[in-house]
C-alpha cells in the first residue's frame, strides 16, 4: 500500500470534523472519495498533505510515517496535492506554474523531460504555455494544476474537486487523461468528486464520507447502486 491513513481524527478547535478515518491508496489505483458538502473531504486531503494537523491517528506513505512532517517534506516523500479551485499562481505564466511542481527536484534534465511529457499529455496547455495562467479557461487551468501536481513525481496524487466549475464533457476528458497518465506513471490517485456516477465509473475503489465518517467503501460499480450514497447526500 502506498498511502495509508489510520484512525485519523481531525478537529478545528473544539469541533471535530473527521472521526477514525481509515483509507488506503495502492500504487496504480484510482480511488474516489465522495460525500456531500461539509462531509470533510477537503479536510481529509489537506490533512494528508500537511496543511491541517490531525488530533490523532497516523498517515504513512510506503511505510514511512508522515504524521509529523511538514508539507514540503511530504512533497519530497511523494505526496502531491491539486487543491480545490486549482489555486494557480495567477501572475505567473503557464510554463512557470507547471515548473513550480518540480521546485524540490534538482535533476534539470529529467525535469525538462517531464515538462515535455506534460505538454504532450495536455496539448491544449502546451499551446498556451507562454500565457499568464489566469487567462486560461477553467478546464485548461485544471490541466495546469494537474500537470503541476505531477511534476513533483509523486507516489500519490490528491485531487480536490476535479469538476469544480467545469462542464461534464471536460470532466470526462480530464478523468480519461488522469487514468492514462496514472497508468503510465504507476502512481496512486485519490480524487474528491461531486459527480458520483462518473467518479465511481472511473475509479477502482471508492469511499463514501458522511459527516466526518467513512460509511461505506468498496469497488466502484458496487457503490454506484448503494443506498449509502443516497443517505450521504440526501439524508434519507
Amino acid at each position: 500500500m502506498t498511502l495509508v491513513v489510520k484512525d485519523l481524527n481531525v478537529a478545528y478547535g473544539d469541533t471535530q470534523v473527521l472521526w477514525d478515518i481509515n483509507i488506503s491508496v495502492a500504487k496504480g489505483e484510482v480511488i474516489a472519495l465522495v460525500g456531500s458538502n461539509g462531509a470533510g473531504k477537503t479536510t481529509l486531503l489537506r490533512t494528508i498533505s500537511g496543511l491541517n494537523r490531525p488530533k490523532s491517528g497516523q498517515i504513512s506513505i510506503n511505510g514511512q510515517d508522515l504524521t509529523q512532517a511538514t508539507p514540503a517534506q511530504r512533497v519530497r516523500l511523494g505526496v502531491a496535492h491539486v487543491p480545490e479551485g486549482r489555486q494557480l499562481f495567477a501572475g505567473l505564466g503557464v510554463r512557470e506554474n507547471i515548473l513550480i511542481g518540480a521546485y524540490l527536484r534538482t535533476a534539470g534534465q529529467e525535469v525538462r523531460r517531464d515538462l515535455d511529457f506534460m505538454f504532450e499529455t495536455f496539448p491544449e496547455v502546451a499551446a498556451r504555455r507562454n500565457q499568464q495562467a489566469g487567462t486560461l479557461s477553467g478546464g485548461e487551468q485544471q490541466m495546469v494544476a494537474l500537470a503541476r501536481g505531477l511534476m513533483s513525481r509523486p507516489q500519490v496524487l490528491l485531487i480536490d474537486e476535479l469538476s469544480l466549475g467545469l462542464a461534464p464533457v471536460v470532466v470526462e476528458k480530464l478523468f480519461n487523461l488522469i487514468r492514462n497518465v496514472q497508468k503510465e506513471l504507476g502512481i496512486g490517485v485519490l480524487v474528491v468528486e461531486q459527480d458520483v456516477e462518473m467518479a465511481f465509473e472511473m475509479a477502482d475503489r471508492g469511499y463514501i464520507l458522511d459527516t466526518g465518517m467513512i460509511v461505506k467503501e468498496g469497488r466502484g460499480e458496487e457503490l454506484l447502486g448503494d443506498d449509502a450514497i443516497r443517505k450521504a447526500y440526501l439524508g434519507i
Binding site: G50, P71, V75, P83, L88, I100, G101, N130
Partner: protein, 335 residues
C-alpha cells in the same frame, strides 16, 4: 512568454551603453568633490533610502508581506553601531557589519512567529514590534543612553572628506543592495518567494518551505536596512529613539516603493529618486506645498499606473531611455 526586461539605456548599442555607464560612474564619483555640501547630503540620503526601500521591496514587493514597521531594523542597526563604537571602541566597518548581522538575526528569530500572521495583522505586528523595540531602547539607559540618545565618536576628517566618505559608503551599499535584489529576482529562491506572494498555501503544497523562505527574505531585508541605519548613525554622530525608530520613515519607504513599483529591481530606485529629489526641489521653492504635491502624485500614480513608475518606462517614447527589451522564453529558474 514575451517577458519584458528593464535595462537602463537598453536600446542603444553596446559600446554606447558602456560609455553611458562610464559617464554615470564618473558623474557619481565627481558629485562629492564638485557639488555643494547640501546636495552631497541629499544624494547620500537618496542612497540611504534606496537601500531601505530595496529592503522593504524584498519582503513586501517580492514576498507579499507589507512590513510597515521595517524601520525597526534601521533603528537596531543604528544603535548596534553606536554602542559598539562608543562603548566598545570597535572600528566603524566592523561595527557596521555586526549591526547588519544583528538586525538580520533579529528578523530571523522574530520572523518565525510574526510571519505566521497575514495582511493587516502582519502590518500591525511589525508596527508593534517597532514601538516595542523603541520603548526597550528608550529605557535601557545603561546600554543605550535611554531617551537622552547616544553619541558616536566624531570622525576625524575634514568636512568635505567626511561628506565624501559617507556618500561613497552609502553608494557602495546601495549598489550592492540593488545587485543582490537583481540576482534574487533571477534565482530559485526569488521564484519561491514570488510564489508565496501569489498563493502561499499552493506554494506550500508545491514543496516550498514557506516559513523558512519568508524568514530568510525578512532577514535579508533587515540586514540591508540595518546597514543603512549603521551608516546613518555614524554620519549623524548622534541618535535617539524617536528619530531612528520613526514610523514616518516607514511610511516614506512605502510611498517610494509603491511609487516606483514593487516587486521590480529598479522600481525602488526610481521611486526613491522621485520622492527625494522632487521633494527637495519643491521644498526649495514651495515648502508649504511639498506634502500636497507629493500626495497628489501618489494618487495619480495609484490611479493611472498602479504598477508604479517603472511601468511608465515601458512606454514607447520614454522607453527609448529606459527601455524594456522583449526577451523570448525566459528561463525563470535553472534546475
Amino acid at each position: 512568454m514575451m517577458a519584458t526586461r528593464l535595462t537602463f539605456l537598453g536600446k542603444i548599442s553596446r559600446p554606447l551603453r558602456l560609455i553611458a555607464y562610464a559617464a554615470l560612474a564618473i558623474l557619481l564619483g565627481l558629485i562629492p568633490f564638485t557639488a555643494d555640501g547640501y546636495w552631497v547630503r541629499v544624494c547620500t540620503n537618496f542612497f540611504m533610502f534606496v537601500i531601505m526601500v530595496e529592503g522593504v521591496n524584498i519582503i513586501s514587493g517580492y514576498t507579499g508581506y507589507a512590513a510597515l514597521g521595517n524601520v525597526v531594523f534601521f533603528g537596531i542597526g543604528a544603535y548596534v553601531t553606536a554602542i559598539l563604537m562608543s562603548t566598545f571602541g570597535l572600528d566603524f566597518f566592523i561595527a557596521l557589519i555586526l549591526a547588519g548581522i544583528v538586525a538580520g538575526a533579529f528578523a530571523f528569530g522574530l520572523g518565525m512567529p510574526i510571519l505566521r500572521t497575514k495582511g493587516h495583522y502582519f502590518v500591525m505586528a511589525t508596527i508593534g514590534l517597532n514601538e516595542l523595540v523603541k520603548q526597550v531602547v528608550s529605557n535601557l539607559d545603561s546600554l543605550t543612553g535611554g531617551g537622552k540618545g547616544i553619541s558616536l565618536p566624531i570622525p576625524s576628517m575634514p568636512p568635505r572628506i567626511n561628506y565624501a566618505f559617507f556618500y561613497f559608503v552609502m553608494l557602495a551599499i546601495a549598489i550592492i543592495c540593488v545587485f543582490v535584489v537583481y540576482r534574487l529576482s533571477k534565482s530559485k529562491f526569488g521564484y519561491g518567494i514570488r510564489c508565496i506572494k501569489a498563493n502561499e498555501q499552493a506554494a506550500g503544497v508545491m514543496g516550498i518551505n514557506t516559513t523558512m523562505y519568508k524568514a530568510l527574505a525578512w532577514t535579508l531585508s533587515a540586514f540591508f536596512t540595518g546597514l543603512a541605519g549603521g551608516v546613518y548613525a555614524y554620519w549623524q554622530t548622534f541618535i535617539e529613539p524617536p528619530v531612528v525608530f520613526d514610523v514616518v520613515f516607514a511610511i516614506k519607504m512605502f510611498l517610494m516603493l509603491l511609487l516606483g513599483g514593487q516587486g521590480t529591481v529598479l522600481g525602488p530606485v526610481i521611486g526613491t529618486f522621485v520622492v527625494e529629489f522632487l521633494g527637495e526641489l519643491i521644498w526649495g521653492h514651495a515648502a508649504d506645498l511639498q506634502l500636497g504635491i507629493l500626495g497628489t502624485l501618489v494618487i495619480v500614480v495609484v490611479l493611472f499606473v498602479p504598477q508604479g513608475l517603472v511601468e511608465v518606462t515601458r512606454n514607447k517614447t520614454i522607453g527609448r531611455i529606459f527601455s524594456t527589451r522583449r526577451v523570448k522564453e525566459p528561463q525563470p529558474v535553472e534546475f
